[in-house]
Amino acid sequence: MDKLDTELKKTCIDSRHLQLEKAPLPESGILIGWLRQMLLIREFEVRTMQAYQNRLIGGFCHVYIGQEAVAVGSIASLNLDDPIVLAYRCHGHALVRGMDPKYCMAEMFGRIGGCAKGKGGSMHMFDAPHHLYGGHGIVGAQTPLGTGLAFATKYEDEVLEDGKSSHVTLCYLGDGALNQGAFYEAMNLAGLFNLPVIFVLENNRYSMGTSIERGTTMANELHTKSDAHGIEHAIVDGKDVLSLYQSFKSIVDWCRTESRPFFVEAQTYRYKGHSMSDPRKYRTQEEEAREDEVDCIARLEKFLCQEHDVTPDGIKQLTRQVKTQVREAVEWAKESPETPMEELYKDVYVDHWGPFTGTSKPQMMQDEPQ
């Protein structure tokens, strides 16, 4: 953490060929909104684990508890129409991007009300109206897609609109994806074609049960990975939403102006196991306790109470609000009908042929049209 501490003390981001001033913080109403989002994710994930244990959710399920600040601070730095693409630990980002928790929960319940009509599941949250291009289950597979989304926005802006590239794509990956070939191909293409994509490494230090030191060469100098592709980099504290936002805002603005990629390592920790079936025997309780002490939500609460006249009572009220919201989402998901049999052959092809019955939009898009 020494290196991270050094980085954080600076008021600017020092990359290879670049120095960026960190952006100022927004006003307190927005900061309180961030706290609410982080509380919402945590409550949502707690109820997700309960629902999983009660067998309302099946398959693989990965919760985001501990990493909330990364999604909140990074997405806050984007415009609403900037694309986002994710790996499989994707519930938190979907909520921050604006997906109503009820569609997210119903998706995991495998119900027709889910964002993907119950056909995607926990690892595959998609939300077209909010420019969320999916959680993706194969480690690293989303990184070429992120490059492609940035390629597309640039093509749209420059070729179709005859203007200047004006969008930035956020492409998230875990530290496990650092060892997949697809990521290096994605970085090479992004660098080569000057694509405005930010690869956001959420380094929670474990790919399933393998610590980063056991799986990744140069684990303490991950910037070497992006250096090799001529891509600028930054390290941010993934547990401090404020400094994370300040860095991200500058980086997003730079990528938008320059139409160039970036690699950001957010150092964080997942409090729970890789998935619901993981007993976490590969790490010590001491390590977990040490990480627990630096909780991203507690840090923001403390900051808001000290600097922005937020009271413990105010925080309790926020907590009550999100508990109600998530409880209602769970109830809504339970009441959403099972995905009907006619959906089995729908959405395979856009058109009707043979047994295939074309495609239709999920309820989420009818409720919230683009």
């Binding site: 070429p144 492609g148 749209e156 179709l160 697809a182 090479n188």
Partner: protein, 328 residues
Amino acid sequence: MSERIIEFREALCEAMSEEMRTDQKVFLLGEEVAQYNGAYKISKGMLDEFGPRRVIDTPISESGFSGMAIGAAMRGLRPIVEFMSWSFSLVAADPILNNAAKMLYMSGGQFGCPIVFRGNDGAGGQLGSTHSWCIESLYANVPGLKMAIPYDAYDAKGLLKTAIRDDNPVFFLESERLLSITGHVPEEDYTVPFGQALIRRQGADCTIISFGRPLYFCQEAAIELAKEGIDCEIIDGRTIRPLDIETMVTSVKKTNACVVVDQSWSFASIGSEVASQIHRYCFDDLDNFVHRVHSDDVPTPYASNLEQAYLPNTRKICEAVRGATYNT
């Protein structure tokens, strides 16, 4: 209407260029497609006409540029991805099978993938085992994609235009050995629809069903067999997904005998699928079981004599037809 004779590769180029003129969302990317004018000169002249933003050279990075194109297609652009050879698509199996083919389903109808992957499929000439893949049987197993295999210049253009206009991912399988053949291609705009097989030769005694390059071996075999008094009907399936089984069944109900010629390996293949469906729908019409001709069940050999013996050649087709019609 006067005959306009052009090469198969020119027909492909015309299809792409015409679609790119009418729809700015269409663009071409792949290895050597731009400055080199295409490894097989299919995209010759396209860089000059459309510029480097729409005719894009990629590094040798199939997984990366396939995934990149799929990401672009999710936003509604319509990429054409050229694989120098479908053999090289194996390193892009995850994006093309997991992402392109399944995106619409997994997103519950939110994100489609209007993309064309095209390139050479099948044995070239002594390219050895890794460069001679026939990927149709491997990939056609996956729902969500469409697959077309053109036989001549006319179909190459008409099917490729249909592929580019299709809102689904289309796997378009060309043959290096057919790129220089010539044929009539009309001046005016036309398309060839998917899922409509074509009877390439009328006959009464045996139906031969095939796709792409092996159809030429089927034609040779039919000429040979006609000398023996066996009158073959040849059906060009044109597309594998969708498969026009109706046209095939109608023919077999007439001839009562069927041979399927498929250039991929026999086990769990296009040939076995077509044969299975013919057995099902023509159970009472067949005088014999459906005979199948494939590449031999071994890696593609380099040595010329072995490679020739390995392919679904005229000799093998003749033997299969004689067997299916009890003329052994």
